[in-house]
Subunit: 374 residues, 2 copies
């Protein structure tokens, strides 16, 4: 982010002092040409609980094509953790100094003189990942922001650019699906998987959803059926496969290993399996005959690449419009979540590093808690 | 083949008697409304050397849309062996009674009254596999035959529908390649691999060709370089990869296992690997990161399916025209081969079941040897 270069940085760690500065900023913002932002900074790659620090910075008013955004919410996602650990293909930069946070939602407070497409009061989400949303205020170029609807919950919008978009593209970009077609997915209780279930329901596709066997399977099954799943089965049931359903044209794999192979085996002739995760940490093993005689196609999907390739594309606009429409209608719900203060970042990081699966929930930084706590 | 139903079959095993019948047929064919054909018949699925038998049959003159073809040459391919063993996805039918032989070339001798597109003297190849070319004469529907050029060697035409077509489609159908682009393949010394090398040369593509390490590697390397290979390397050299060449956009895999994984690792971002064989009998194992972050696509190719889907397509016509043009120019050469009598079928089957690789050669039934031996 080029705008970081011209920021005056100060490193004040005292929580009380930070609170006072935030209060001062809230009172003085309209009188001053500067605003104090609080942000989580990555000092070096490593254990997120060790290397992340809360800092403040003074932001000048936006110039030219810049926009000042007051961030409202920013989720903590597994990809954020991997970026802090330094193990993600996209590197945080510069370290020390970079702010993590691939997604979030905010409200425009000030715009530079050349900005015509946004105005104060507009709700916005970042147009690409890795802009660093774990802060209370951010200055970005106008083209780095996408205006979103103002009649939706912030908590829906905060996470719209990762999992709902991933599910949307997985169902749209690989196989031409028609009403009644069957999609099979593993890791169906994951964040993307839950969105896949809801989008299948909205588009009248049938979904076969595979989850690990577990003590609370019936409870999970009930939950996913309520989201719109056609079938919810365990890996064991997948191997036996007694479902009275057409063969799937599309398989979505975020697990890998034997599970992925079993899912692949259920695919229809000429079907496609898209891999977008590898939770088992095992590779995908494919019999030669699946390629030659069953004509299976295997592809991969990475939302980050798609987003970077489609910052301003019509496809992205259409996708966000569709997703927001589904959110407005109640057909696409945010996952279980907990709103936390940016000051409680260690809890939030620890939670994301030790996912509780279905029993757990997603932590979302709610920047409004700063104001309330002052 | 429906035309089999109305054939009068006799089961005469004596080689001398068969010879006399063939001689008689050659002399009497123009006077008679029947012709005697000698054919290899599969009596049951199993060891080809045990279950194949030479028989004769009387063929009536072709009626309506039928064509009588005097077969000139028919190769023995690994797929023929697998079909006799009963382990191929396409089954010989009916067994007992079916004639193997997926490809070959012949000359039209008589046509039925409704046939306009073929005439006696035309050279033809089968339009689809599995028509049973291991016989001296065959009656087919006109649409099951494709007319080919008469200024090419029979030995080139005999094998045109399998390996040259496979290589052509592998290079045409999966990645849009431009002059100078790099293709990597394993099993490069195989029958399809040698065609890939020659077509790459003809289309000004660069080919990186991986073969197993072997005592006669330098000799093999020399041979493949003469065919037009850009680089010929062993699996060990593939792992170390010190070639000064752009990353391949397309990988062709007929080996599987670790070899396929190493080939995949050399692919360019967004590249495609097409599997058309699995000589190692090991599956293809793909790291999740190759799908997600490297955006690799894996597909399969089976010439049989393509042929069945494209019996009369413009794409097939264009392909055969191109391949015959390359054969005429000397840019596409038949592999090392040995012409054998259909009576020596046990030798031919044994040879194909125990491939000698580069040191070996392909056995092709030359039906003209019957006439000469009479």
């Amino acid at each position: 982010m080029t705008s970081l270069n011209r920021l005056g940085l100060s490193f004040i760690k005292s929580s009380r002092l930070l609170k006072r500065k935030y209060l001062f900023q809230s009172q003085m913002m309209s009188l001053s040409s500067q605003v104090t932002s609080f942000k989580l900074v990555c000092n070096k790659f490593g254990d997120p609980k060790e290397v992340i620090e809360l800092q403040d910075e003074s932001l000048c008013m936006p110039q030219n094509d810049e926009v000042l955004v007051k961030v409202v919410m920013a989720p903590v996602n597994p990809a954020d953790i991997n970026m802090i650990q330094g193990v993600y293909p996209v590197k945080l930069s510069p370290v020390p100094g970079a702010v993590p946070g691939n997604e979030g939602v905010g409200v425009v407070t000030h715009v530079g003189g050349d900005v015509t497409q946004l105005k104060p009061g507009d709700r916005v989400v970042p147009s690409t990942p890795a802009l660093g949303m774990w802060r209370t205020h951010i200055i970005l170029k106008a083209h780095q922001l996408t205006k979103v609807r103002d009649d939706l919950e912030f908590v829906d919008l905060a996470g719209i650019t990762s999992n709902p978009c991933t599910a949307y593209r997985l169902l749209k970009d690989f196989v031409a699906l028609s009403e009644g077609d069957v999609v099979i997915q593993n890791g169906a209780n994951g964040a993307a998987g839950q969105n896949v279930i809801q989008l299948c329901k909205a588009w009248r596709l049938r979904s076969v959803n595979v989850v690990r066997d577990r003590p609370d399977f019936e409870q999970l099954r009930e939950y996913l059926m309520q989201l719109g799943a056609t079938h919810v089965i365990t890996e064991e049931q997948l191997r036996k496969w007694s479902l009275d359903v057409a063969k799937p044209k599309l398989a979505l794999n975020c697990v890998g290993g034997k599970n992925a192979l079993e899912v692949l085996r259920r695919l229809d002739q000429g079907g496609t399996m898209v891999t977008y995760g590898g939770m088992s940490r095992e590779p995908v093993t494919i019999p030669t005959s699946s390629f030659i005689f069953k004509d299976i196609t295997l592809k991969g999907f990475w939302m980050t690449r798609w987003s970077n390739d489609n910052t301003c594309s019509e496809a992205r606009k259409q996708m966000l419009d569709d997703l927001m429409c589904f959110m407005h209608d109640g057909r696409l719900k945010a996952p279980n979540h907990k709103l936390v203060s940016i000051r409680d970042f260690r809890d939030a990081l620890a939670n994301t590093m030790n996912p509780q699966g279905f029993a757990g929930c997603k932590y979302i930084f709610d920047m409004r808690l700063e104001e309330q706590s002052c």
